[in-house]
Subunit: 199 residues, 2 copies
């Protein structure tokens, strides 16, 4: 939108919308118009839902998950097995695992991965609380569900080392062929591991 | 996100975000997490900008444009030529023409196109006000910048008929090869017109 064709309020809305991941400048304009046209039915509720999120959402002081309650609904859920702890980098990974939905376990969100290049060290991650939870003696297995990237794997090695002094089983997610994946399109590393780990 | 892993406030935010054009369920989750992580710096200002838009944005009672002022900034702009009126279907078309940015003219937003199948008739569009503006005698040329679709062209014919009784020149956007477009990928209709209208 060029200058002087609409008030700064609309301009600002478009600029902020354009910063949402997945929207660019063009789709932000389209989104702004769509929102404005459905002011009462859509823009108003969305604005309110955002304000509610601003006011209520917080990090769980136990696991690092985000929720409107602290402890979060997962930590409070008594039907979950506190003996199994899945360690993830980010809340989005926790959501993904919950969508996959097979295990009723507890989580620990690191809030990132070790990345010396980006200046992310162990103190920047939610690692000490993980050690505290394991030290409490209830946890029997820690599943390191970090990303299969170099930084994720480095983080996994680091945490495995730290957990060595506890009487706890440390496991990782299996590598292999994605369900529905075609071998022809798979990278060599994955294929080699899938072959090696055949069952 | 499956049930019982976060408060309903987060769930509702994701659901509303997923209704923004350009975002689906997956990107809405990603957007919600991104917004929540930048609560103070991003979510709060966006929520406020939306509320400001709810409170201030309205349709211009002259041209149908949306703005925070009525008459809108374009209708109020005295450097624009009121003798030339560009008729568009939607505010997004007005924005697109302003971005192209060559003419300092006035606009008239129809708010849609004639579409019997969707139950959109002449009374549903901002046509009477267009006739009133032309009847006032200042307008010398009406440029029908409707979409090059069947419904857009039907709307153009209908308005051309209505304007026949006024002393006003009615023109249309030129058809032809898009700038940067490759002939090989162009549809036959456009190519035929481009050849016919060669200059």
């Amino acid at each position: 939108m060029s200058k002087h064709i609409a008030g700064p309020e609309i301009e600002r809305l478009i600029q902020l919308l354009a910063r949402i991941p997945g929207l660019g400048p063009r789709s932000a304009r389209r989104a702004a118009l769509h929102l404005i046209k459905k002011k009462e039915a859509f823009l108003q509720p969305l604005s309110q839902a955002m304000q509610v999120a601003v006011d209520t959402v917080q990090a769980c002081s136990f696991c690092g998950n985000i929720d409107t309650a602290d402890p979060c609904m997962i930590c409070k859920d008594e039907r979950r097995d506190p003996a199994t702890l899945i360690v993830v980098e980010d809340v989005s990974d926790l959501w993904a695992l919950e969508r996959a939905g097979s295990m009723r376990v507890c989580y620990h969100v690191l809030g990132g991965r070790l990345s010396p290049l980006d200046g992310v060290g162990p103190d920047d991650l939610n690692i000490q609380k993980l050690l505290d939870r394991v030290a409490a003696g209830i946890v029997e297995e820690v599943i390191l569900a970090v990303n299969a990237t170099i930084e994720g794997q480095t983080t996994a090695y680091y945490i495995t080392d730290l957990l060595a002094r506890f009487d706890v089983r440390v496991t990782r997610l299996a590598h292999g062929v994605p369900v529905g994946g075609e071998l022809d399109y798979l990278d060599d590393g994955t294929l080699a591991i899938a072959l090696q780990e055949r069952a």
